[in-house]
């Protein structure tokens, strides 16, 4: 259901970016790139909150005409950005309900990012991975692909 998934380093450069319609990849690059403004803003807004109490899921960053961009930031300021087709309403509808109820964990977006985070943690655990390099893990790739293909 996601059309583009990106992992952004603390210094705001991409560690990983993958999108399904490969013919217009640049569009998603722009989209993810500009979404970082919102991520930065959201992080600075909640900067004062205690680290362990902070919610990592940033929710909807901004909508465009065709897509919605969701964000997630780890405690080490690594960002995950997911672009979802606007026509896919499942994610959004559930989310609005859950967020208003104050429970992030029931949102599908939260779970997807959680999965991404876990996979990213696995990548970091690889002793041959140099933090800051582009992610080239096949396992991570497969996981991302599965999230993009997934039909809701």
């Amino acid at each position: 259901m996601a059309v583009c998934i990106a992992v952004i380093a603390k210094e705001n450069y991409p560690l990983y970016i993958r999108s399904t319609p490969t013919e217009n990849e640049l569009k998603f690059h722009y989209m993810v790139h500009t979404s970082l403004d919102v991520v930065d803003e959201k992080i600075s807004a909640m900067g004062k909150a205690l680290v362990d109490q902070r919610e990592l899921y940033l929710g909807l960053l901004y909508p465009t005409e065709d897509y919605k961009v969701y964000g997630y930031v780890t405690n080490s300021k690594v960002k995950f950005v997911m672009v979802v087709d606007s026509s896919n309403t499942a994610l959004r509808d559930n989310e609005i309900r859950s967020v208003s109820a104050g429970d992030w964990r029931t949102t599908p977006g939260w779970w997807m990012f959680r999965k991404l985070h876990n996979s990213y943690t696995d990548v970091m655990c690889n002793p041959f991975y140099n933090p800051g390099d582009r992610i080239q893990s096949r396992a991570f790739d497969n996981m991302v692909m599965s999230m993009m293909i997934q039909v809701c």
């Binding site: 450069y13 991409p14 990849e25 790139h33 500009t34 403004d37 919102v38 807004a45 901004y62």
Partner: protein, 1149 residues
């Protein structure tokens, strides 16, 4: 209304719009000069006790359709017109006036007042002066323009004030006109104007209008009250458009109150020029802005209270900052209901964003902006699109969304050159693109990319760079596009695909064919500078090493007394601190020198990261410190080559310290200066080297053929030339060396040394000898001149075949070891030649003899001259000499035979010809012996015995450290040399015309030596007073007593004796029978036994006796030692007494 004003901000609501127009032909320059002067009068103080602030907004262009919305929001209304006219002569005047009236009519419905400023006339018109026209002689002479404008604004204010009062004092009974926006007009046709609903609508709209007027007239509190009332009224009748306007008015008034510095961000100072408010305080909230809501009771439902003073006192009906945003949101949501109010909605959004930016609420601001993006206006012209995207970008920048800002700026840039535009604005596009760079965190300085791998949004950045390249090319600035393309190639190389690399380099080459890339800083008109882009990655340099000169040209410092390397700074020979410092110095300085005028080399290890062949042209060195003539190289690196060595060369023209900073290249037509300091991951072993003054260069050629055979590398020196020669053992050859000065300096000094490489072979005599004087006489050798020099090569290896062989032969029975001193062979033995065919086993051994031995030596030529010599430098050139020594003759066996005289002996040598040619051998050049190939013959040489003791003893001090063995060795060598010089054996190969000597030095063993040695005890036997030592017999007469004297001379360094000697006579029957029974024949006068006393060194002793021969005959006397008297410790050869041959003759009568 269709043209949005993106620059609007909330405080514009309090301004009066004044249009300044040129009338007739007014040059733009002149018009704007006046326009700027008019604009300075933006906050004229109104001469009024109420201290009201009045704001004027000047426009030089305003679409009349926007003016039609003036009732909706009064700040959109053009209330004043200032026309600027240019009249050269009086006859232009009527025309100008007419045009002024046309202008006035266009905005006539809303104008309060107007003025015409005429330049060029001096009031010479006959017409009576008009109040609305002012004449100025020229644009430079119009000091009263500002004054006039102020007057004009005062008149505007009076009109405004009157209108405000007029509207505010409308009686409730009077019919309030319905104000409406242009598109509403037809909706209200036929509506019941008497309904309550309609009346309320009219009231609400009028209240809002009054609020606007109050705000413009500087009565902020009044306006707030009016707006509040209007909101209430309009809300009740669901007049959403106007409700929105009322809410927006409320917001604007509140914003003006809260943020006196203004929200547009740039004009805070302009608005409060005269005020003492500090700029930083401008954005702060005004304290005490209480949000006490208006008392509903103060609102009258059926009319407008004429007196608002009571309400003013009641409350400060200002909105709180949070409420402002809520109200803006509400207003915008109402506007959005009307498609025709798109511009209003858009402008409201922009205004709200500006407010939010000040409040630092970026997230909400971005929502407003997002909304603004979606507002669909009618079909926008391209220019308007550009404007719209630019302003969006600016607003995003304002709220800190740099990436989003960059995104829109890029969209705007692309819009400038959209295909639908007839004349694409490449310049504008380029300018806008440049502005997006920070948003994409891209700097155009390649230095920022030197630190490790590039981290960034490569795909996005690459696209931007491509666009920059394209835009700059279309702009007609090829230098710029080359610079951008170089930058793209250099910095994004890791992210480019092979195809992209190819494409980019191809286009780069096409661009550079017109405009080569340089290393100059490109400065853009707006002040941005583009630093040069050196191609440090094309090719990538991994290692830089300065190479010393080749060994033959390397300068060396003459050793001073102190030693060059010793540091005079410290008294310590070694200190870890010094060592550490040296290590640091070594990083920069290198321990070899370059020489002025000689080609120097720097080696680079490079590789080509491109998937195709890379042609690097004009690659040379960048240096400083010394005038350096770089000789550029061109190279072609294969696709994705591995490390590839490249040598860059140059010639230093002066002396001093030279530092290699980097290299320059031309790749794809782009010149690059790559500095080593800026290269990442480069290994360098120092870059500073000393250049010493020029030295001459020597070239050596020899008479011998050059040899491919190189000497063992362990020799340490590097050999420039190798020559080889084949010689027979014992042969001598001359080597003629031609010395040519091929340098530019005279050759003044030459020293030659030789070094024989360690060889297992024992070498006798001087291998190499020369005489330098002759050569030195030709010095100094001018450049281009040749001198010759002769070296003698003499090879004298061991002529014994093999040690063990010699040993075997010594034990051989054939050998005459000569040990029995009293040899029976007292007969005359002539030196004889015993022909002896080679035995089969020996011939097989001959194979061993023929094996070729090699000798190697290095001749070292140290030379100097010119300025380098003055500085104490020299060069050394080495000539390797490789000599193959073929065996000539061998002495397979050596032995001695005593000669008849005790002072002489025979040396027997078995000579073996190991060559393949016939060979003659001679000793002392008296006799020649012919040896066929592989033949072995014995030759005997009679030699005088040697008195070795008389050889000079090595000096005492030498003896101290030479141990006994060495001493003995030396003595042996000395003896060998002595013997050899006496023998003078020479061989000759007639067929080859070659000759040489043969030395016995190596094959004389101790035994043979002892035999050849003259005994220190010299015994002389005198018969009848005659010395009897030769073969000749002493004659005597029978019956006469013959005196026999035995004399001993002691030449040994110690005393010997005493000895007892017995004279034993015998007769030799010549058939092997000795007859000792001669008692009847010989009688002794006295004793037959002599006693010799002890003889001191250099002493003499003699004993006398007599013999009486009774018969004639040949007699021999054998003088024998008594067994007991002989000193055991003395060698037996010392006691070699001559035998005496006496011939007794019949006495003659």
């Amino acid at each position: 209304m269709s043209v949005p004003d993106y620059m609007q901000c909330a405080e514009d609501h309090q301004t009066l719009l004044v249009l300044v127009r040129p009338v007739g032909a007014v040059s733009e320059e002149n018009f704007f000069r006046i326009y700027r002067r008019i604009c300075t009068v933006s906050h004229p103080g109104v001469r009024d006790s109420q201290r009201r602030a009045l704001c004027i907004r000047y426009r030089h262009h305003y679409p009349p359709e926007n003016n039609e919305w003036g009732d909706f929001q009064t700040h959109r209304k053009v209330v004043g017109l200032i026309a600027v006219a240019d009249c050269c002569s009086a006859k232009d005047w009527p025309q100008a006036l007419e045009k002024f009236h046309v202008q006035k009519e266009a905005y006539g419905a809303t104008l309060y007042d107007s003025r015409l400023l005429v330049f060029g006339l001096r009031g010479e018109l006959a017409e009576p002066p008009r109040p609305d026209v002012a004449f100025y002689p020229s644009y430079d002479d119009c000091a009263t323009v500002e004054k006039r404008v102020e007057d004009f604004i005062e008149s505007l204010f009076i009109v405004l004030e009157s209108k405000r009062l007029d509207r505010a004092t409308d009686k409730s009974g009077d019919k309030i006109p319905l104000l409406c926006v242009p598109f509403e007009k037809k909706d209200f046709v036929g509506l019941d104007t008497d309904s309550r609903h309609y009346k309320k609508r009219c009231q609400g709209r009028m209240r809002k209008h009054v609020g606007d007027l109050c705000l413009q007239a500087g009565m902020l509190q009044d306006s707030l009250v009016h707006y509040h009332m209007s909101v209430e009224l309009l809300r009740s009748v669901n007049d959403f458009l106007w409700l929105g306007a009322a809410l927006e008015g409320l917001c604007s008034a509140s914003v003006i109150y809260h943020y006196p510095g203004g929200t547009s961000g740039k004009t805070g100072a302009r608005r409060f020029q005269g005020s003492s408010l500090p700029a930083e305080a401008a954005n702060r909230h005004r304290p005490g802005a209480q949000e006490v809501l208006i008392d509903p009771g103060a609102l009258t439902t059926n009319g407008i209270n004429p007196d608002t003073s009571a309400e003013i006192g009641r409350a400060k009906n200002c909105l709180s900052p949070e409420d402002i945003i809520d109200k803006y949101k509400e207003a915008i949501s109402y506007y959005s209901k009307y498609k025709n109010a798109g511009v209003i909605e858009l402008e409201a959004c922009v205004k709200a964003v500006r407010v939010l930016a000040i409040q630092k609420r970026s997230m909400e601001a971005s929502e407003f902006l997002q909304n603004a993006v979606y507002i669909n206006l009618r079909q926008l012209s391209e220019e308007e699109k550009i404007q719209r995207y630019s302003i969006l970008s600016e607003l995003y920048e304002l709220i800190g969304f740099h990436r989003k800002s960059a995104f829109f700026k890029r969209v705007a840039a692309m819009q400038c050159v959209a295909p639908s535009i007839a004349e694409p604005g490449w310049r504008a596009c380029y300018k806008l693109l440049l502005e997006t760079l920070p948003g994409y965190s891209l700097s155009l300085d390649p230095k920022d990319f030197n630190k490790g791998t590039h981290r960034g949004w490569a795909a996005v950045q690459m696209r931007l760079l491509h666009e920059l390249v394209y835009a700059s090319r279309r702009m007609g600035n090829p230098a710029l596009s080359v610079r951008h393309l170089s930058f793209l190639l250099q910095t994004m190389l890791d992210f480019l695909s092979d195809q992209e690399k190819k494409d980019i380099t191809q286009s780069l080459e096409t661009y550079t064919s017109k405009c080569p890339g340089t290393m100059e800083l490109i400065t853009l008109p707006d002040g941005l500078t583009l630093p040069p882009v050196p191609f440090t990655k094309l090719p990538i340099v991994r290692h830089v090493e300065l190479l010393g000169l080749p060994a033959s040209l390397r300068p060396q410092k003459m050793k001073s007394l102190l030693g060059q390397s010793m540091s005079t700074k410290s008294p310590f020979i070694y200190s870890p601190i010094i060592a550490h410092n040296r290590g640091e110095e070594r990083n920069k300085k290198i321990d070899f020198q370059w020489v002025q005028g000689d080609v120097c080399e720097v080696q680079l290890m490079v590789y080509n990261p491109m998937p195709f062949e890379l042609r690097v042209e004009n690659m040379g060195l960048l240096t400083s410190g010394v005038e350096f003539e770089s000789l550029p190289a061109a190279l072609s690196l294969p696709a994705e080559s591995g490390l590839y060595p490249v040598t860059l060369v140059g010639v230093p023209q002066t002396t001093g310290m030279i530092t290699v900073h980097g290299y320059h290249t031309t790749v794809f037509g782009v010149f690059s200066d790559c500095l080593l300091d800026h290269l990442p991951g480069i290994k360098t072993s120092g870059s500073t080297v000393e250049v010493i003054p020029a030295l001459p260069r020597l070239q050596i050629s020899t008479s011998l053929p050059r040899s491919a055979h190189s000497l063992q590398p362990s020799s340490g020196d590097e050999i420039s030339t190798n020559v080889s020669v084949q010689l027979y053992n014992g042969e001598t050859q001359q080597l003629i060396v031609k010395l040519e000065n091929i340098g530019m300096e005279p050759l003044e000094k030459l020293e030659i040394t030789s070094k024989i490489l360690t060889t297992k072979e024992k070498l006798y005599g001087d291998f190499l000898s020369w005489n330098l004087e002759e050569t030195l006489a030709q010095f100094p050798l001018q450049p281009g001149k040749v001198a010759t020099f002769t070296i003698n090569i003499k090879v004298k290896l061991d002529f014994s075949c093999q040690e063990n062989l010699l040993q075997d032969l010594s034990d051989d029975g054939i050998s005459v070891s000569g040990f029995p001193l009293s040899s029976p062979f007292r007969q005359v033995i002539r030196p004889r030649v015993e022909s002896k065919p080679v035995n089969p086993p020996e011939s097989s051994r001959a194979g061993d003899f023929s094996h070729v031995k090699t000798l190697e030596a290095i001749l070292n030529f140290k030379y100097s001259g010119g300025p380098g010599h003055v500085e104490g430098y020299y060069r050394s050139l080495s000539l390797g000499l490789h000599v193959e020594v073929e065996p000539s003759v061998f002495f397979t066996r050596v032995s001695t035979l005593p000669a008849t005289s005790t002072r002489q002996c025979h040396l027997l040598l078995d000579v073996f010809n190991s060559t393949e040619h016939e060979l003659t051998i001679s000793a002392r050049s008296n006799e020649e012996l012919i040896l066929h190939a592989g033949e072995c013959q014995r030759m005997a040489i009679q030699v005088d015995k040697f008195n070795f003791e008389s050889f000079p003893v090595p000096p005492g001090e030498k003896r101290q450290f030479a141990n006994a063995e060495q001493l003995e060795e030396e003595r042996r060598e000395a003896r060998g040399l002595e013997i050899n010089s006496k023998l003078g054996i020479r061989w000759r190969v007639p067929s080859l015309q070659r000759s040489g000597e043969a030395s016995v030095e190596g094959l004389l063993n101790q035994l043979v030596l002892e035999h050849l040695q003259l005994a220190p005890l010299q015994w002389d036997v005198l018969v009848d007073g005659q010395l009897c030592d030769c073969e000749a017999a002493a004659a005597c007469q029978v019956g006469d007593p013959v005196r026999l004297e035995v004399r001993l001379t002691n030449r040994s360094p110690r005393s010997v004796g005493p000895f007892a000697l017995t004279v034993v006579p015998f007769q030799d029957h010549q058939n092997g029978v000795h007859n000792y029974d001669l008692h009847d024949t010989i009688s002794f006068v006295g004793s037959s036994t002599f006693y010799l006393d002890a003889v001191k060194p250099l002493g003499q002793s003699a004993c006398l006796g007599a013999l009486l021969f009774l018969y004639a005959g040949d007699f021999f006397l054998h003088i024998r030692f008594h067994e007991d008297s002989r000193s055991k410790e003395l060698p037996p050869s010392w006691f070699c007494l001559p035998s005496v041959h006496v011939r007794a003759l019949e006495a003659q009568a």
